[in-house]
Symmetry: D2
Subunit: 116 residues, 4 copies
């Protein structure tokens, strides 16, 4: 299955439940934020080693992946609502980031582009 | 370009800057959460009509799409770090949601599955 | 009970459980973000009228207040860790906001100061 | 200045700008979430040592405190909108947490109460 077929399945799932009425762009943004918090909760209070342990364990990793799937689902549904192509907007953003973060300046540093 | 080619480009971008060292799963989760907040900021204090106006305007919509691209980028990089396939984890989650939200119960309501 | 007495109680609760070791500033920031997401979840997918109904109902309102309490608790514990006085930092920020948002420009508009 | 006097000042600031119309509970919740993300951004990509360095440096610490002040401000304004007393709801939540996290079980562990 490719990305467009997957998006069609997500929309089909949504429409079978008559949920388009709830999927306003601001609500989808909030839903993404909530799912991102659930993802973060898996790593809360954990040391760097414990984080590694968490994703190294098959069962824990699949729980983390499930939260990530939620984020991706709502993100793809928002892309659908905005009528934009996910691969296209990421490709466009990558071009912007190439200018914001030129290799020679950004290499090996996590500094934000505004302070590079 | 398909999704796997896109992920390869994201990883290439990251590696050219030697950023893998920063992309710990917990940090990527936090980055997603921060980008989700930036997405939400576009809709903050806005009425439902103003939200519609925002995404209906071409320039505003492309700003919103840019934030969405950031969320998707970090999400795909996290999937890469977890060694999971984005399309597969979404398909798996969709199956779980089909059980959590059966059409006959979930149709037309935004109630959470725990209270359906 | 005044605010300082309350903070002492929060610290006492924490120390009785030997939790200071977990309360690193970045973790407390993440905890606040997670609790803020739980707060938002109460309003997710809801129309403006449903939001009003939610906080107008005594039982629902107390659930919302409980999430708010979580945010405040972690925020006060972070202030304690940073060794700053909550009332003082808010008073300072209010002065900054008075300059960022002069009454004559900001009155009746939700526009961000960068665009006022 | 005590907490109630501070809240009065926050409400006065808001009313001078005619902002009550924007301060719906869901919007305030979103504002808190956005400010929490800005707080997290100060620690993004940082190692435990770098986090310590950040809050140990006076200038950086005051920047972090400013984000915390934003979270507290919106939280206090939401408490005001919900017509609840911040100190009271925190005291109530502390009682709940004392039951959820009994000292003998919770001591020295960051495990969630559902798994204690």
């Amino acid at each position: 299955m490719d990305l467009n077929q997957l998006i069609s399945k997500l929309v089909e799932f949504r429409d079978a439940r008559d949920w388009k009425q709830f999927h306003k762009p601001n609500h989808l943004a909030t839903a993404i934020s909530i799912e991102a918090a659930e993802l973060q909760e898996h790593f809360l209070w954990k040391s760097p080693d414990e984080v590694e342990g968490k994703v190294g364990d098959e069962h824990s990793c699949s729980e983390v992946a499930e939260e990530l799937a939620d984020i991706l689902m709502f993100s793809l549904l928002l892309a659908h609502e905005l009528n934009v192509d996910p691969i296209e907007i990421i490709t466009d953003k990558l071009k912007i980031n190439e200018i914001k973060y030129p290799v020679e300046k950004a290499r090996g540093t996590a500094t934000k582009y505004t302070e590079l």
